[in-house]
Structure formats: C-alpha cells, structure tokens
Subunit: 154 residues, 2 copies
Amino acid sequence: MDTTEILIKIRKIVRSINLESKKIEKEYGVSIPQVLCLHYLRDSVNFQAGQGEIRKFLNLNASTTSGIINRLETKGLVARLPKSGDRRVVTIALTSKGDTLMTNMPSLLHEKLEEKLGKQEDQAILEVQNSLELLVNILGIDELEAFPVIPEGE
Amino acid sequence: MDTTEILIKIRKIVRSINLESKKIEKEYGVSIPQVLCLHYLRDSVNFQAGQGEIRKFLNLNASTTSGIINRLETKGLVARLPKSGDRRVVTIALTSKGDTLMTNMPSLLHEKLEEKLGKQEDQAILEVQNSLELLVNILGIDELEAFPVIPEGE
DNA sequence: TCTATATAGTTTCTACAGGAACTATTTAAA
DNA sequence: TTTAAATAGTTCCTGTAGAAACTATATAGA
C-alpha cells in the first residue's frame, strides 16, 4: 500500500501553499499567515483582538504568532495597544494602512481554491473533506482538536 | 462552501507533520527531511548519491537540500565526497554511523501512517489518494509534476 | 498578606523552505 | 581558443514554525 505516495502528495500540497505564500508576499509584501491575521482582525470588533485570540484562530504557537505580528507591526499594518484591565494582554489593532491593503488585495490562494473547488461536484468536495478529516485523525492531532474554529472565516 | 475548512485541515496536517518531525528530532537527533535523505541514500548504489539527485527526490530547493545535508554532515551521518569526472558534483555518502542510526530507528510517521491506514477500508484509502490528487491539481503544482518519484520508498 | 500558580507575551535558538546572488566547473559556440 | 551559456552547489537573507526560558501580570489558596 502506498503511504509514501500519500506523504509525498501532502508534501507537495504543503510546498505549493508555501510557494503561493511567497508569491503573494513578493507581490503585496505580506505572506498568507500575515494575511490570515489581518483578515481575522478585519472581522473582529473594532478591528482589534488579543494575541491569544489570533493565535487560537491561526492554530499557531505563541512565539510564531508573535513573529507574524512583529512583521506586520514593522510594516505598519497593525499596532500593539495596551489593554486596560489586564495589562498582560496586548491588543492587536488593524491600522488603516492594513485595512486599505486588505481592501485592495485580490484573490488569494483561498479564493482560488474556492473558485476551482466550486467547479467540482459536491460529491468530490465531500470526499476531499472526509479524506482530510481522516488524515487529521490518523495523524493524531489530539491536543489541537479543542481549538475553537471561528467559522467567520469569510 | 467551506474552503476555509479545507485550508484549515491542510494546515492542521502540515502542523502535525511538523510536530511529529520535531518529536522525532528530539528523540533521535534527526528530523523527517533528514531521515528521508538518509533513507534515500540507503537505497542508493554504494549508499551514495549526488546532491541534485537527493534534491529531486525530496522535491526541494537546492539551498534547502544543502542545509539538510549540512546538518547531517555536522552529525557525522553523511559525508561529502568529490566526484571524479565532474568536479562540480558533490557526492553525498551515507556513513556507517548514519547507516546504524537508520537501522535502529523504529516506526516513523511514515510507518505509523502505514499502520493506521492499513486498518482503513480500501475504498477510504482510494478516496484519500484521489482527494489529495485533486488538491494537488487544483493548487497547480505544474512545475513540479515532472519530478521522478522513485517508488523504492520502502 | 504572602506565596503558588496560572496566564499572556516576548526572546532566543534551531530547523525547514525558497529566492537571489555567487563560485566553480563543464559544455557549446564562435 | 576564447567566450558564452548551462549546470552543480553554496551562501546570505527572510519568513514560518515550535520549544524552552523568561518577564510581567493576575488569581487562588494558605
């Protein structure tokens, strides 16, 4: 049985996402994780959210999230604000510059996938979802299962 | 339609592979890409191969491959040898230390997946493969399609 | 109150990953 | 033969990713 093939395909998918990310970064100055972060802020109340909230949404490590926010901050797309009440919490706020960028950024991988996947039969889409679910379960992502998927992705 | 969910699942799979890789690295001192590299050498003639050959098999950038080999070399698991004939080519050779490590390294993600996937119905496995294939095609990994998959993975 | 302990983030370190620029060698062409 | 182009690798730079160690703040318990 060819699990090697499956692993190679997963590696290919990963790689294509990375390549797309670098392409987007070159064109717009922001990578996919950065875009996802800005995207989340745009959907948040007052365009603001705590680092932890973002971290949970992106399903990333705190240090990774910190780095992403650092790069966004350097570009002026995001600002770190103090939170009254709990001074441990750093509120991340979308700047108008960040908002403008998001407005002008067209079709990401996300939307490309959406478009192309839309052309597939419903049955095929269901199979893709089931297959990925199976892989997720098989690979044993138990500790992560709890993370709250905020479905307000789009 | 929920492509967001699909992307999140792919990210989860990627993440679980990374986590597994770090776990393996902590336990055995070598990561999955490094193991794949050693694995390839073990299946090569005289336990040797050119960097380019490895690069094509792993489907990675030259600089990335260079880094992986560097780390393996530092650990003494691999050695860089000159190739008579073409002095641009660097032959990568598995050392006995590397060979021994591979002999003693049990059940990788690879084999875990194999084991767990073996318990699934053939139909499910087929669906997984088809789904990944579909995603690979949708994500447009055209330039990479040509890379020669040596099926001697196991 | 004083002390755990838990929580929120940051910093440092390491690995993977790719692009760009570079060196060195080989091959093709003029 | 000398130049031009292709090929094989390396080095440098940046980004993603996580673990470990750390700071600072908040909360619970004695």
